[in-house]
Protein backbone atom coordinates (compact mmCIF):
# COMPACT_ATOMS: atom_id res chain seq x y z
CA UNK A 1 0.00 0.00 0.00
CA UNK A 2 2.81 2.32 1.03
CA UNK A 3 4.87 1.46 -2.04
CA UNK A 4 1.85 2.05 -4.30
CA UNK A 5 1.35 5.47 -2.75
CA UNK A 6 5.02 6.31 -3.28
CA UNK A 7 4.78 5.20 -6.87
CA UNK A 8 1.72 7.38 -7.41
CA UNK A 9 3.51 10.32 -5.81
CA UNK A 10 6.48 9.83 -8.13
CA UNK A 11 4.18 9.58 -11.13
CA UNK A 12 2.43 12.79 -10.12
CA UNK A 13 5.75 14.55 -9.70
CA UNK A 14 6.89 13.43 -13.14
CA UNK A 15 3.58 14.46 -14.71
CA UNK A 16 3.93 17.80 -12.96
CA UNK A 17 7.42 18.25 -14.36
CA UNK A 18 6.37 17.28 -17.89
CA UNK A 19 3.40 19.62 -17.65
CA UNK A 20 5.56 22.50 -16.44
CA UNK A 21 8.11 21.97 -19.22
CA UNK A 22 5.35 21.73 -21.84
CA UNK A 23 3.68 24.91 -20.60
CA UNK A 24 7.05 26.69 -20.53
CA UNK A 25 7.84 25.56 -24.07
CA UNK A 26 4.39 26.55 -25.29
CA UNK A 27 4.64 30.04 -23.77
CA UNK A 28 8.18 30.46 -25.18
CA UNK A 29 6.97 29.43 -28.66
CA UNK A 30 4.02 31.78 -28.41
CA UNK A 31 6.32 34.62 -27.36
CA UNK A 32 8.70 33.92 -30.25
CA UNK A 33 5.78 33.78 -32.68
CA UNK A 34 4.36 37.09 -31.41
CA UNK A 35 7.78 38.76 -31.54
CA UNK A 36 8.41 37.51 -35.10
CA UNK A 37 4.97 38.63 -36.20
CA UNK A 38 5.42 42.12 -34.73
CA UNK A 39 8.86 42.48 -36.38
CA UNK A 40 7.58 41.32 -39.76
CA UNK A 41 4.54 43.62 -39.55
CA UNK A 42 6.68 46.75 -39.01
CA UNK A 43 9.37 45.58 -41.44
CA UNK A 44 7.15 44.60 -44.34
CA UNK A 45 5.16 47.83 -44.00
CA UNK A 46 8.30 49.37 -45.59
CA UNK A 47 7.86 52.73 -43.85
CA UNK A 48 11.34 52.20 -42.35
CA UNK A 49 12.83 52.97 -45.77
CA UNK A 50 12.01 56.66 -45.31
CA UNK A 51 13.46 56.82 -41.76
CA UNK A 52 17.17 57.69 -41.79
CA UNK A 53 17.61 56.38 -38.24
CA UNK A 54 16.43 52.88 -39.24
CA UNK A 55 18.13 52.73 -42.65
CA UNK A 56 21.38 53.72 -40.93
CA UNK A 57 21.07 50.74 -38.55
CA UNK A 58 20.10 48.46 -41.47
CA UNK A 59 23.16 49.50 -43.49
CA UNK A 60 25.43 48.95 -40.49
CA UNK A 61 23.97 45.49 -39.92
CA UNK A 62 24.32 44.55 -43.60
CA UNK A 63 27.92 45.77 -43.58
CA UNK A 64 28.74 43.87 -40.38
CA UNK A 65 26.94 40.65 -41.30
CA UNK A 66 27.41 40.56 -45.05
CA UNK A 67 30.42 42.60 -46.14
CA UNK A 68 32.69 41.79 -43.20
CA UNK A 69 31.64 38.14 -43.29
CA UNK A 70 32.38 37.80 -47.02
CA UNK A 71 36.13 36.94 -46.79
CA UNK A 72 35.40 34.18 -44.27
CA UNK A 73 32.68 32.70 -46.47
CA UNK A 74 35.00 32.79 -49.52
CA UNK A 75 37.81 31.15 -47.55
CA UNK A 76 35.61 28.36 -46.18
CA UNK A 77 33.88 27.90 -49.55
CA UNK A 78 37.28 27.46 -51.21
CA UNK A 79 38.35 24.79 -48.72
CA UNK A 80 35.02 22.97 -48.73
CA UNK A 81 34.78 23.30 -52.54
CA UNK A 82 38.21 21.79 -53.20
CA UNK A 83 37.56 18.91 -50.78
CA UNK A 84 34.04 18.22 -52.03
CA UNK A 85 34.86 18.47 -55.76
CA UNK A 86 38.03 16.37 -55.36
CA UNK A 87 36.20 13.57 -53.52
CA UNK A 88 33.13 13.64 -55.77
CA UNK A 89 35.21 13.54 -58.98
CA UNK A 90 37.39 10.81 -57.50
CA UNK A 91 34.33 8.76 -56.54
CA UNK A 92 32.65 9.27 -59.93
CA UNK A 93 35.84 8.22 -61.73
CA UNK A 94 36.25 5.15 -59.52
CA UNK A 95 32.82 3.84 -60.50
CA UNK A 96 33.19 5.23 -64.03
CA UNK A 97 29.96 7.25 -63.95
CA UNK A 98 30.78 10.92 -64.60
CA UNK A 99 27.09 11.88 -64.55
CA UNK A 100 27.24 11.43 -60.78
CA UNK A 101 29.40 14.56 -60.49
CA UNK A 102 26.55 16.94 -61.25
CA UNK A 103 23.98 15.12 -59.12
CA UNK A 104 26.26 14.79 -56.10
CA UNK A 105 27.40 18.41 -56.29
CA UNK A 106 23.81 19.55 -56.57
CA UNK A 107 22.43 17.29 -53.82
CA UNK A 108 25.28 17.62 -51.36
CA UNK A 109 27.08 20.90 -51.93
CA UNK A 110 24.28 23.10 -53.26
CA UNK A 111 21.26 21.81 -51.34
CA UNK A 112 22.71 20.69 -48.03
CA UNK A 113 26.21 21.93 -47.26
CA UNK A 114 26.05 25.52 -48.53
CA UNK A 115 23.02 26.79 -46.54
CA UNK A 116 24.14 24.95 -43.40
CA UNK A 117 27.76 26.10 -43.46
CA UNK A 118 26.86 29.71 -44.28
CA UNK A 119 24.35 29.82 -41.41
CA UNK A 120 26.88 28.28 -39.02
CA UNK A 121 29.45 30.87 -40.15
CA UNK A 122 26.94 33.69 -39.63
CA UNK A 123 26.05 32.32 -36.21
CA UNK A 124 29.63 32.00 -35.06
CA UNK A 125 30.59 35.43 -36.40
CA UNK A 126 27.53 37.62 -35.87
CA UNK A 127 25.28 35.52 -33.64
CA UNK A 128 27.05 36.24 -30.39
CA UNK A 129 27.37 39.91 -31.37
CA UNK A 130 23.60 40.22 -31.95
CA UNK A 131 22.65 38.75 -28.55
CA UNK A 132 25.39 40.65 -26.71
CA UNK A 133 24.51 43.98 -28.32
CA UNK A 134 20.78 43.64 -27.66
CA UNK A 135 21.40 42.33 -24.15
CA UNK A 136 23.71 45.23 -23.33
CA UNK A 137 21.15 47.70 -24.65
CA UNK A 138 18.53 46.15 -22.35
CA UNK A 139 20.87 46.24 -19.37
CA UNK A 140 21.60 49.93 -20.06
CA UNK A 141 17.87 50.62 -20.36
CA UNK A 142 18.25 51.90 -23.91
CA UNK A 143 14.95 50.23 -24.85
CA UNK A 144 13.11 52.58 -22.47
CA UNK A 145 15.09 55.54 -23.81
CA UNK A 146 14.07 54.60 -27.36
CA UNK A 147 10.42 54.16 -26.42
CA UNK A 148 10.43 57.51 -24.63
CA UNK A 149 11.37 59.08 -27.99
CA UNK A 150 8.48 57.26 -29.67
CA UNK A 151 10.85 54.87 -31.44
CA UNK A 152 9.57 51.35 -32.06
CA UNK A 153 12.08 48.82 -30.71
CA UNK A 154 10.85 46.28 -33.29
CA UNK A 155 11.43 48.66 -36.17
CA UNK A 156 14.65 50.30 -34.98
CA UNK A 157 16.47 47.40 -33.31
CA UNK A 158 15.00 44.06 -34.36
CA UNK A 159 13.90 44.43 -37.99
CA UNK A 160 17.30 45.64 -39.34
CA UNK A 161 19.03 42.66 -37.69
CA UNK A 162 16.47 40.13 -38.95
CA UNK A 163 16.53 41.64 -42.42
CA UNK A 164 20.35 41.80 -42.58
CA UNK A 165 20.73 38.22 -41.37
CA UNK A 166 18.21 36.87 -43.88
CA UNK A 167 19.34 38.92 -46.85
CA UNK A 168 23.08 38.47 -46.24
CA UNK A 169 22.54 34.77 -45.48
CA UNK A 170 20.89 34.27 -48.86
CA UNK A 171 23.51 36.27 -50.78
CA UNK A 172 26.41 34.58 -48.95
CA UNK A 173 24.89 31.14 -49.69
CA UNK A 174 24.99 31.96 -53.41
CA UNK A 175 28.56 33.26 -53.05
CA UNK A 176 29.48 30.05 -51.24
CA UNK A 177 27.98 27.88 -53.99
CA UNK A 178 29.62 29.92 -56.76
CA UNK A 179 33.08 29.95 -55.12
CA UNK A 180 33.04 26.31 -54.04
CA UNK A 181 31.99 25.02 -57.47
CA UNK A 182 34.03 27.35 -59.68
CA UNK A 183 37.21 27.75 -57.67
CA UNK A 184 37.01 24.21 -56.25
CA UNK A 185 36.51 22.81 -59.76
CA UNK A 186 39.26 25.01 -61.19
CA UNK A 187 41.81 23.97 -58.58
CA UNK A 188 40.93 20.28 -58.86
CA UNK A 189 41.12 20.46 -62.68
CA UNK A 190 44.68 21.82 -62.42
CA UNK A 191 45.92 18.74 -60.64
CA UNK A 192 43.46 16.06 -61.63
CA UNK A 193 42.40 14.28 -64.78
CA UNK A 194 39.25 16.24 -65.46
CA UNK A 195 38.70 19.11 -67.80
CA UNK A 196 37.23 22.20 -66.12
CA UNK A 197 34.70 22.75 -68.91
CA UNK A 198 33.58 19.10 -68.74
CA UNK A 199 33.22 19.49 -65.00
CA UNK A 200 31.01 22.57 -65.40
CA UNK A 201 28.90 20.82 -68.03
CA UNK A 202 28.35 17.90 -65.63
CA UNK A 203 27.40 20.32 -62.83
CA UNK A 204 24.97 22.12 -65.14
CA UNK A 205 23.41 18.80 -66.19
CA UNK A 206 22.89 17.75 -62.58
CA UNK A 207 21.25 20.99 -61.46
CA UNK A 208 17.58 21.70 -62.03
CA UNK A 209 15.40 24.75 -61.35
CA UNK A 210 13.82 22.98 -58.34
CA UNK A 211 17.21 22.61 -56.71
CA UNK A 212 17.82 26.30 -57.21
CA UNK A 213 14.48 27.03 -55.52
CA UNK A 214 15.41 24.78 -52.59
CA UNK A 215 18.72 26.64 -52.30
CA UNK A 216 16.88 29.99 -52.17
CA UNK A 217 14.41 28.58 -49.63
CA UNK A 218 17.03 27.10 -47.32
CA UNK A 219 19.47 29.96 -47.86
CA UNK A 220 16.94 32.45 -46.52
CA UNK A 221 15.06 30.24 -44.03
CA UNK A 222 18.04 29.09 -41.97
CA UNK A 223 19.52 32.55 -41.37
CA UNK A 224 16.03 33.90 -40.62
CA UNK A 225 15.31 31.20 -38.04
CA UNK A 226 18.73 31.78 -36.49
CA UNK A 227 18.12 35.51 -36.30
CA UNK A 228 14.70 34.99 -34.65
CA UNK A 229 16.26 32.74 -32.02
CA UNK A 230 19.08 35.24 -31.39
CA UNK A 231 16.73 38.23 -31.17
CA UNK A 232 14.48 36.33 -28.76
CA UNK A 233 17.42 35.59 -26.45
CA UNK A 234 18.80 39.12 -26.76
CA UNK A 235 15.46 40.65 -25.80
CA UNK A 236 15.17 38.54 -22.65
CA UNK A 237 18.45 39.35 -20.96
CA UNK A 238 16.64 41.64 -18.54
CA UNK A 239 18.69 43.95 -16.32
CA UNK A 240 21.41 41.49 -15.28
CA UNK A 241 24.70 42.06 -17.17
CA UNK A 242 26.12 38.73 -15.98
CA UNK A 243 23.33 36.92 -17.86
CA UNK A 244 24.45 38.24 -21.28
CA UNK A 245 26.99 35.42 -21.95
CA UNK A 246 24.46 32.81 -20.80
CA UNK A 247 21.85 34.13 -23.23
CA UNK A 248 24.44 34.45 -26.02
CA UNK A 249 25.41 30.78 -25.64
CA UNK A 250 21.77 29.71 -25.41
CA UNK A 251 20.92 31.79 -28.48
CA UNK A 252 23.70 30.36 -30.66
CA UNK A 253 23.14 26.75 -29.55
CA UNK A 254 19.36 27.13 -29.84
CA UNK A 255 19.71 28.54 -33.36
CA UNK A 256 22.05 25.69 -34.32
CA UNK A 257 19.60 23.09 -33.04
CA UNK A 258 16.73 24.86 -34.78
CA UNK A 259 18.40 24.84 -38.21
CA UNK A 260 19.47 21.19 -37.84
CA UNK A 261 15.92 20.22 -36.91
CA UNK A 262 14.55 22.28 -39.81
CA UNK A 263 16.99 20.56 -42.17
CA UNK A 264 15.87 17.16 -40.97
CA UNK A 265 12.22 18.20 -41.28
CA UNK A 266 12.73 19.45 -44.86
CA UNK A 267 14.59 16.22 -45.74
CA UNK A 268 11.64 14.14 -44.43
CA UNK A 269 9.15 16.27 -46.37
CA UNK A 270 11.26 15.89 -49.54
CA UNK A 271 11.50 12.11 -49.03
CA UNK A 272 7.73 11.83 -48.56
CA UNK A 273 6.87 14.09 -51.52
Amino acid sequence: MESQRNMMMQLHKRADRVGTISLHMFSELRRIFQMTLSILVVGLRMSWLSKPAVTNVAFRQIYFTGVQGLPWVILVALGVGVLAVYNIVDFAKSIQDMSLIGRLISNLLVQEVAPLIVTILLLSRSGVAVVTELGTMHVRGEDLALRSMGISVQEYLLWPRLMAFTLCGLILTFVFVFVSIWLGGLLVSLSYEINFIDFLIEVRKGTSFNELLILIFKGSLYPMLSAIMLLNRGCHVGREPNLIPVHATQGVLGALMLILMSDAFIAIIQALA
Binding site: S50, A53, N56, M137, L144, R147, S148, M149, I151
Partner: protein
Protein backbone atom coordinates in the same frame (compact mmCIF):
# COMPACT_ATOMS: atom_id res chain seq x y z
CA UNK B 1 -0.31 77.28 -25.37
CA UNK B 2 -2.75 75.31 -23.21
CA UNK B 3 -1.21 71.84 -23.37
CA UNK B 4 -1.95 69.68 -20.34
CA UNK B 5 -0.61 66.21 -19.62
CA UNK B 6 -3.27 64.06 -17.94
CA UNK B 7 -3.18 60.61 -16.44
CA UNK B 8 -5.97 58.51 -15.03
CA UNK B 9 -5.89 56.60 -11.79
CA UNK B 10 -3.25 53.89 -12.22
CA UNK B 11 -2.98 50.62 -10.34
CA UNK B 12 0.65 49.54 -10.36
CA UNK B 13 0.62 46.28 -8.44
CA UNK B 14 -0.76 47.17 -4.99
CA UNK B 15 0.02 50.83 -5.46
CA UNK B 16 -2.54 53.34 -6.56
CA UNK B 17 -1.38 56.42 -8.39
CA UNK B 18 -4.06 59.10 -8.31
CA UNK B 19 -5.30 60.78 -11.45
CA UNK B 20 -3.67 64.15 -11.96
CA UNK B 21 -2.28 66.50 -14.57
CA UNK B 22 0.59 68.83 -15.42
CA UNK B 23 -0.18 72.06 -17.22
CA UNK B 24 2.15 73.91 -19.58
CA UNK B 25 4.68 75.87 -17.52
CA UNK B 26 3.75 74.06 -14.29
CA UNK B 27 6.29 72.03 -12.28
CA UNK B 28 4.81 68.98 -10.51
CA UNK B 29 6.69 66.45 -8.41
CA UNK B 30 5.50 62.86 -8.08
CA UNK B 31 7.19 61.07 -5.20
CA UNK B 32 7.12 57.26 -5.35
CA UNK B 33 9.54 54.35 -5.20
CA UNK B 34 11.70 53.32 -8.16
CA UNK B 35 9.59 50.32 -9.31
CA UNK B 36 6.54 52.60 -9.45
CA UNK B 37 8.47 55.28 -11.33
CA UNK B 38 9.63 52.68 -13.83
CA UNK B 39 6.12 51.22 -14.25
CA UNK B 40 4.71 54.73 -14.65
CA UNK B 41 7.21 55.49 -17.42
CA UNK B 42 6.59 52.13 -19.09
CA UNK B 43 2.91 53.00 -19.12
CA UNK B 44 3.61 56.43 -20.54
CA UNK B 45 6.01 55.38 -23.27
CA UNK B 46 4.66 51.98 -24.33
CA UNK B 47 3.54 52.01 -27.93
CA UNK B 48 -0.24 52.18 -28.19
CA UNK B 49 -2.35 51.55 -31.28
CA UNK B 50 -6.04 52.03 -32.00
CA UNK B 51 -6.85 48.52 -30.73
CA UNK B 52 -6.01 49.45 -27.12
CA UNK B 53 -7.75 52.84 -27.23
CA UNK B 54 -10.03 51.84 -24.34
CA UNK B 55 -7.06 51.28 -22.05
CA UNK B 56 -5.43 54.66 -22.61
CA UNK B 57 -4.53 56.07 -19.25
CA UNK B 58 -2.34 59.01 -20.27
CA UNK B 59 -2.81 61.70 -22.83
CA UNK B 60 -1.78 65.19 -23.76
CA UNK B 61 -4.57 67.66 -24.22
CA UNK B 62 -3.63 70.22 -26.86
CA UNK B 63 -5.45 72.99 -28.69
CA UNK B 64 -5.86 70.68 -31.67
CA UNK B 65 -7.13 67.65 -29.73
CA UNK B 66 -5.92 64.72 -27.66
CA UNK B 67 -2.60 62.96 -28.17
CA UNK B 68 -2.58 59.50 -26.62
CA UNK B 69 0.53 58.18 -24.88
CA UNK B 70 2.70 56.01 -27.09
CA UNK B 71 1.62 57.82 -30.25
CA UNK B 72 4.15 59.56 -32.48
CA UNK B 73 2.60 62.98 -31.79
CA UNK B 74 2.73 62.38 -28.04
CA UNK B 75 6.42 61.45 -28.12
CA UNK B 76 7.22 64.61 -30.07
CA UNK B 77 5.25 66.76 -27.60
CA UNK B 78 6.36 65.15 -24.32
CA UNK B 79 10.11 65.16 -23.72
CA UNK B 80 11.83 62.73 -21.39
CA UNK B 81 14.86 62.95 -19.13
CA UNK B 82 15.42 59.57 -17.51
CA UNK B 83 18.30 59.06 -15.09
CA UNK B 84 21.27 57.47 -16.90
CA UNK B 85 19.00 56.60 -19.84
CA UNK B 86 19.74 59.51 -22.14
CA UNK B 87 22.12 57.88 -24.60
CA UNK B 88 22.26 55.10 -27.14
CA UNK B 89 25.84 53.86 -26.77
CA UNK B 90 26.61 52.95 -30.37
CA UNK B 91 25.58 56.34 -31.80
CA UNK B 92 27.53 59.58 -31.78
CA UNK B 93 26.38 62.38 -29.48
CA UNK B 94 25.14 64.29 -32.55
CA UNK B 95 23.05 61.28 -33.67
CA UNK B 96 21.77 60.89 -30.11
CA UNK B 97 20.54 64.48 -30.09
CA UNK B 98 18.90 64.18 -33.50
CA UNK B 99 17.58 60.61 -33.08
CA UNK B 100 13.84 61.39 -32.70
CA UNK B 101 13.98 63.61 -35.80
CA UNK B 102 15.92 60.98 -37.77
CA UNK B 103 13.27 58.42 -36.86
CA UNK B 104 10.03 60.35 -37.26
CA UNK B 105 9.48 61.25 -40.88
CA UNK B 106 9.36 65.03 -40.65
CA UNK B 107 12.02 66.60 -42.84
CA UNK B 108 11.11 70.16 -41.90
CA UNK B 109 11.64 69.48 -38.21
CA UNK B 110 14.82 67.50 -38.95
CA UNK B 111 16.30 70.42 -40.89
CA UNK B 112 15.21 72.85 -38.18
CA UNK B 113 16.76 70.67 -35.45
CA UNK B 114 20.00 70.30 -37.43
CA UNK B 115 20.18 74.11 -37.70
CA UNK B 116 19.60 74.57 -33.97
CA UNK B 117 22.00 71.79 -32.98
CA UNK B 118 25.09 73.99 -32.73
CA UNK B 119 23.32 76.49 -30.50
CA UNK B 120 21.96 73.71 -28.24
CA UNK B 121 25.31 71.91 -28.08
CA UNK B 122 26.89 75.21 -27.08
CA UNK B 123 24.33 75.68 -24.29
CA UNK B 124 24.90 72.21 -22.85
CA UNK B 125 28.66 72.47 -23.36
CA UNK B 126 29.13 69.52 -25.69
CA UNK B 127 30.12 71.26 -28.94
CA UNK B 128 33.56 69.68 -29.12
CA UNK B 129 32.30 66.18 -28.38
CA UNK B 130 29.40 66.07 -30.85
CA UNK B 131 31.01 63.58 -33.22
CA UNK B 132 32.37 61.30 -30.51
CA UNK B 133 30.74 57.91 -30.08
CA UNK B 134 28.59 57.91 -26.96
CA UNK B 135 29.80 54.63 -25.42
CA UNK B 136 29.92 54.70 -21.63
CA UNK B 137 29.27 58.18 -20.23
CA UNK B 138 28.61 59.75 -16.86
CA UNK B 139 25.15 60.45 -15.45
CA UNK B 140 25.93 64.13 -16.12
CA UNK B 141 26.41 63.56 -19.88
CA UNK B 142 23.28 61.41 -20.04
CA UNK B 143 21.34 64.23 -18.40
CA UNK B 144 22.87 66.87 -20.71
CA UNK B 145 21.99 64.91 -23.84
CA UNK B 146 18.41 64.36 -22.60
CA UNK B 147 18.15 68.07 -21.91
CA UNK B 148 19.64 68.92 -25.32
CA UNK B 149 17.10 66.64 -27.00
CA UNK B 150 14.30 68.39 -25.11
CA UNK B 151 15.66 71.75 -26.27
CA UNK B 152 15.48 70.55 -29.86
CA UNK B 153 12.05 68.90 -29.56
CA UNK B 154 10.59 71.87 -27.62
CA UNK B 155 8.06 69.70 -25.80
CA UNK B 156 4.96 70.98 -24.07
CA UNK B 157 5.74 68.85 -21.03
CA UNK B 158 8.99 67.22 -19.86
CA UNK B 159 8.94 64.03 -17.80
CA UNK B 160 12.12 63.83 -15.73
CA UNK B 161 13.09 60.88 -13.57
CA UNK B 162 15.72 61.55 -10.89
CA UNK B 163 18.11 63.16 -13.38
CA UNK B 164 19.90 65.02 -10.61
CA UNK B 165 20.66 61.91 -8.54
CA UNK B 166 24.18 60.46 -8.62
CA UNK B 167 26.05 63.49 -9.95
CA UNK B 168 29.19 64.80 -8.22
CA UNK B 169 28.52 68.23 -6.57
CA UNK B 170 30.35 70.28 -9.23
CA UNK B 171 28.40 68.58 -12.04
CA UNK B 172 25.15 68.92 -10.08
CA UNK B 173 25.57 72.69 -9.72
CA UNK B 174 26.50 73.02 -13.39
CA UNK B 175 23.52 70.90 -14.46
CA UNK B 176 21.13 72.85 -12.23
CA UNK B 177 22.23 76.11 -13.89
CA UNK B 178 21.95 74.70 -17.40
CA UNK B 179 18.60 73.02 -16.77
CA UNK B 180 17.13 76.15 -15.14
CA UNK B 181 18.03 78.30 -18.13
CA UNK B 182 16.80 75.58 -20.53
CA UNK B 183 13.45 75.29 -18.73
CA UNK B 184 13.08 79.09 -18.77
CA UNK B 185 13.86 79.13 -22.47
CA UNK B 186 11.37 76.33 -23.23
CA UNK B 187 8.60 77.35 -20.84
CA UNK B 188 7.48 73.70 -20.74
CA UNK B 189 5.67 71.99 -17.89
CA UNK B 190 7.68 69.48 -15.85
CA UNK B 191 6.69 66.24 -14.17
CA UNK B 192 9.52 65.17 -11.87
CA UNK B 193 9.46 61.53 -10.76
CA UNK B 194 11.52 60.91 -7.67
CA UNK B 195 11.78 58.60 -4.68
CA UNK B 196 12.65 61.42 -2.28
CA UNK B 197 11.37 64.97 -1.88
CA UNK B 198 15.02 65.98 -1.33
CA UNK B 199 15.98 65.14 -4.89
CA UNK B 200 18.30 68.14 -5.22
CA UNK B 201 16.90 69.68 -8.38
CA UNK B 202 16.30 73.04 -6.69
CA UNK B 203 13.14 73.55 -8.74
CA UNK B 204 10.13 75.41 -7.44
CA UNK B 205 7.26 72.93 -7.65
CA UNK B 206 3.63 73.99 -7.83
CA UNK B 207 2.49 70.64 -6.41
CA UNK B 208 3.99 67.53 -4.86
CA UNK B 209 2.10 64.25 -4.99
CA UNK B 210 3.34 61.50 -2.71
CA UNK B 211 2.46 57.90 -3.44
CA UNK B 212 3.17 55.35 -0.74
CA UNK B 213 3.69 51.84 -2.03
CA UNK B 214 1.29 49.06 -0.96
CA UNK B 215 -0.68 51.22 1.48
CA UNK B 216 -2.82 53.09 -1.03
CA UNK B 217 -2.07 56.13 1.07
CA UNK B 218 -1.77 59.24 -0.98
CA UNK B 219 -0.88 62.65 0.29
CA UNK B 220 -0.99 65.79 -1.71
CA UNK B 221 0.21 69.19 -0.70
CA UNK B 222 0.55 72.53 -2.39
CA UNK B 223 3.88 74.13 -3.14
CA UNK B 224 7.24 73.15 -1.69
Amino acid sequence: MSDVLHWDELHLGHTLIPASHVAHGEFVRLVMNYPCQYAFMQHMFSPCDESCADNWKMWLQTDSGLQMSGSREFSMSVGSMIRHRGLIANLSLRENLLLPFLYHENHTRLEQAADELVDVANLIGLTAALDEKAGERTTFTHALISLGRCLLIKPAIIVAQEVHIGMPPEHLEQFKDISMSALQRLGSGLLYLTASPEEGSGLDYARTLTVKAEHKDIQSRKGE
